[in-house]
């Protein structure tokens, strides 16, 4: 959220407001999901909260967790450092571990205007979901006998298990959305007569394009949409031993991999594009190749051979796919040809919508013509979206389109002028500078586990497994938390002492031409070192929770002491990434028994001296700071924590406590054996503090 900082109100509230900037991943997501937030929550081990964030922006979190095309990952700025965050896999983790499919969504009817959705694909369902949440009575008309559109008939089960889809649909019926299956809508007028006041047409694009070559109508040639639909209906379409799939998109990949699973001996994929130009997702192409699909790039179809039955397919070399203007206009070299043996040919060269004439909607290039802002068609009260209006697109785009339609229908039914959403969804952050990239630690990406290819091709079971808890935390903590870094929140306090400039491990703060300090938000890595070091306390992190979480925890303990009257023996400030991740620090949670209170903190660099002193004030006999050591994603954190500890220790000595009552467990290097095992260390520390406590009790007895 960006704020108008000039307004007096926002300045007064600046200390409590969220001043973080939209990260690139969120801007790239068609649904503008708060990705940074849920990745951060996963990193903190708060999976239920992460799921809540996901669910607030996404109507079908489980579906997206399986098959989202993750444009967010393309925009991830970590890709300049090493590799982007596995955002979709983390969402899958949050969805599975948070129990998404067990959660119901509540909705109640507020308005009387009835709305109709034609088509129950992702766009239609998303529109229905949001209209229902807004409080409208919603009816979805579906021509097929089952709900889901392309999600059910187009996407193979190994990518999206049907029980996931079914549970999403159950949730929608639970919200009170009426589904009428087996009901093709032939006339929009009829719907208006039935009392529906707004109609959303999302009939998808289900008509396969034709190749236009000799032999296309022979038995044995099938289009991919029909082929996939038959499989998904539970039929087993008969295929030959040698299958050739034509097309380079996701549908072609799905068809190839499905053919393998049906028992084809060889599957050849033929496409015009070169490997780099193929529109299918790179990861899926990779999976297909692993499973045994032979990808033939830069070939076009010349003819399908054979008299009664197909015997093979003749290909010609495709020289270029796009012309100088970047338009699809393939050119071929007829002198280079090859023949592939084939008894089944599956065409997957794109789909176009089939729009009934009777709807009376204007079309352009086969898709419904809509206003890009309002999604209104040429007919009053009729809106259109999804593949029917945009041409074949991804699920996440369809969901976003459906949500937009719901907002626009709401505007229409309430005679409101449609609000512009354009500027709200841009990230103000620029690219990382080479200097910053250099300074960021490289941490390799954790890929979610996959079933081996030879097992995969035997059945239509989902191939990707979920992260385990620790790996998910480790992957999530790689996030650079773009846009949530430090800022000079109170410029009037800033004495321009240049401390921030000198302590920043990434050299981000700089002096501007007016001799003021600037902390560019697009470079800041949110390590928090300048925040704990600023002598004027003028710097704060942009997110309110980041600013106050340690203080809140301490207050919580203060409250707990009041209620239970029990006092902690030891208070530990522990890196929460380390506590929940794969590192050895995780052992501390297990060892921490009676009397040892753990305060999970975002990073040990965020501990300030006064936090440590307050822990003693709470009554602790011993206080420790435990960092994740070698796993830390940020620079200089250990040195900073040590400095704060030293300062607190100087006070301890003056009040007659022992320096050892405040200790640090900070494994520095990867092979640092001195610091050893945290569990053993904590046991020793607890033993030491326990004996001190006992001594002081005995001494007090003696006095009495």
């Amino acid at each position: 959220m960006t704020l108008d900082v000039t307004s007096i109100e926002s300045q007064n509230n600046s200390a409590i407001l969220d001043r973080s900037l939209m990260p690139p991943c969120q801007a790239a997501c068609p649904l503008h999901m708060n990705i940074r937030e849920y990745v951060d929550l996963v990193a903190r081990g708060k999976v239920m909260e992460a799921l809540q964030v996901i669910r607030s922006d996404n109507p079908f979190p489980s579906v997206c967790a399986y098959i989202c095309s993750h444009p967010c990952e393309e925009a991830c700025r970590r890709s300049h450092v090493d590799k982007q965050i596995a955002i979709r896999a983390l969402k899958r983790f949050a969805v599975e571990f948070g129990g998404d499919r067990k959660v119901r969504t509540e909705a109640r009817t507020i308005f009387t205007e009835k709305t109709a959705i034609i088509g129950s694909g992702p766009a239609g369902m998303s529109c229905a979901f949001y209209l229902r949440k807004l409080g409208y009575p919603v009816t979805v008309f579906e021509a097929h006998t089952e709900i889901g559109g392309m999600l059910r008939f187009g996407i193979p089960q190994y990518r999206l298990p049907r029980e996931v889809l079914d549970s999403e649909i159950r949730r929608m019926t639970g919200m009170g959305i009426e589904f009428r299956t087996g009901t093709p809508v032939v006339s929009l007028d009829l719907l208006f007569e039935m009392g529906y006041q707004a109609i959303f047409v999302s009939i998808g694009a289900q008509q396969s394009r034709r190749l236009g070559v000799e032999g296309e109508d022979k038995p044995g040639v099938v289009d991919a949409i029909t082929f996939l639909r038959e499989i998904n209906l539970g039929l087993k379409p008969a295929i030959g031993e040698n299958v050739v799939v034509i097309g380079g998109g996701n549908v072609a990949i799905d068809a190839s991999r499905s053919a393998l699973r049906l028992g084809a001996r060889t599957v050849n994929l033929v496409c015009l594009e070169s490997r780099a130009e193929m529109p299918a997702f790179a990861a899926d192409i990779q999976y297909a190749i692993e499973e045994g699909v032979i990808v033939n790039c830069s070939w076009g179809v010349k003819a399908i051979l054979g008299k009664e039955v197909i015997t093979g397919i003749e290909l010609k070399r495709c020289v270029s796919v796009f012309d100088a203007n970047g338009k699809f206009n393939p050119s071929f070299d007829d002198s280079i040809t090859q023949i592939l043996p084939a008894d089944t040919v599956i065409t997957a060269i794109g789909q176009i919508p089939q729009i009934p004439e009777s709807y009376g909607l204007k079309t352009s290039r086969g898709t419904i013509l809509v206003d890009p802002v309002t999604l209104n068609t040429n007919r009053k009260g009729v809106f259109a979206g999804g593949d029917a209006a945009s041409g074949p697109a991804t699920v996440i785009q369809a969901l976003a389109n459906g949500r937009l339609a719901a907002i626009r229908i709401d505007d229409y039914l309430h005679h409101r002028y449609p609000r512009s959403l354009e500027n709200e969804n841009k990230s103000p952050l620029g690219e990382l500078s080479p200097q910053t990239i250099q300074a960021i630690r490289k941490i390799s990406r954790y890929e979610p586990p996959l079933a081996p290819p030879e097992i995969r091709i035997k059945e239509f079971q989902p191939i990707e497994q979920v992260y385990n808890w620790e790996t998910a935390v480790d992957e999530a903590r790689r996030c650079l938390r773009c846009g949530s870094g430090a800022e000079i929140l109170f410029p009037d306090k800033c004495a321009t002492c240049l401390t921030c400039l000198r302590v920043c491990p990434y050299s981000v703060p700089r002096i501007d031409q007016d001799f003021n300090i600037q902390i560019p938000p697009d470079q800041c890595q949110a390590c928090g070192i300048c925040v704990t070091r600023c002598p004027a306390m003028a710097i704060a992190l942009r997110k309110p929770w980041d600013r106050r979480h340690i203080n809140e925890e301490i207050e919580r303990f203060r409250h707990r002491i009041k209620i239970t009257q029990s006092r902690p023996l030891i208070i530990g400030f522990c890196c929460q990434y380390g506590l929940f991740g794969t590192g050895k620090l995780a052992g501390i949670l297990k060892t921490a028994g009676e009397g040892i209170w753990i305060i999970p903190i975002m990073c040990i660099a965020k501990v300030e001296t006064y936090h440590l002193l307050q822990a003693f004030e709470l009554g602790a006999e011993g206080v420790f700071v435990a960092g994740c050591g070698e796993q830390c994603a940020r620079e200089n954190t250990i040195a900073e924590a040590k400095a704060q500890i030293q300062k607190a220790q100087s006070v301890l000595v003056e009040i007659g406590l022992k320096i050892d009552q405040l200790q640090a467990f900070l494994p520095e290097a990867k092979n640092d054996n001195r610091s050893g095992d945290p569990e053993k260390w904590l046991e020793e520390f607890a033993g030491y503090i326990g004996s001190l406590h006992l001594n002081s009790l005995l001494a007090a007895e003696g006095k009495n």
Binding site: C497, P535, A536
Partner: protein
């Protein structure tokens, strides 16, 4: 920039003993920059004193904190007027000037120094400050290649180096550069070595009239900026 060092907490602790309610006042300028009396240090001291209170079982004191922009300006000090009604003493984390300024403003209020004001200097790296000026009031840096012998020579002599200079270091501290060797080297670079030949009459340290007062007329001009008694 005025540089100071915070007093050890137990020294401060002893100082505040006679007073029940103590207001810790920070300074948002020099003391913030040198990390001795800014808002963070005020906060730290507040927490440290509270902890001492608890551990030493006194429970006789209460503390409050406030940081003003600059303790050496009466207008800023006015902001304390309301607060001092509820305290028995002020612990000032301003430099010696700030502490005195508060004392001057509030007649009946004990004002305690929380820092040892040390030098006029410059920061080099984080946490390191070097003395560069003693505010003598008679600047001759044009003659000494921009290096002050009064501040940087252990003896403060104007006609150096003395016989104690060895290999460019000072006899009083083998780690410390001899200021006069530095001056020589820099004059050499500037091509002004003849300035080494100039003789300065001995400074009379005893006659610096204290306290000094600087009066500048608003209209400016060279003759107005006079140091006088």
């Amino acid at each position: 920039m005025i540089i100071a060092n915070q007093k050890p907490s137990n020294e401060i602790w002893k100082m505040i003993q006679p007073y029940q309610r103590v207001l810790i006042v920070g300074c948002g300028t020099c003391m913030t920059v040198c990390g001795s009396g800014g808002e963070r240090e005020v906060n730290f001291l507040h927490n440290a004193l509270r902890l001492m209170e608890l551990k030493l079982n006194q429970s006789a004191h209460t503390f409050s904190e406030f940081t003003i922009k600059r303790q050496c300006e009466t207008e800023f000090i006015e902001m304390l007027t309301e607060k001092i009604n509820y305290v028995d003493a002020v612990l000032s984390l301003g430099c010696g000037i700030g502490t005195q300024a508060i004392a001057e403003r509030f007649d009946n209020l004990p004002v305690l120094p929380g820092v040892n004001t040390s030098i006029i200097g410059m920061g080099t790296t984080q946490g390191v400050w070097l003395e560069r000026c003693v505010a003598c009031g008679e600047c001759i840096l044009d003659e000494t290649a921009g290096i002050c012998p009064v501040a940087r020579c252990a003896k403060g002599i104007l006609n150096g180096p003395c016989g104690g200079s060895k290999h460019g270091k000072c006899e009083s501290n083998k780690e410390m550069d001899c200021a006069w060797i530095l001056i020589y080297k820099r004059l050499e670079k500037l091509g002004q070595l003849d300035k080494m030949r100039k003789y300065y009459p001995m400074r009379n340290f005893q006659t610096i009239p204290r306290p000094r007062r600087l009066i500048k007329s608003v209209t400016g001009g060279n003759t107005d900026g006079q140091l006088s008694l």
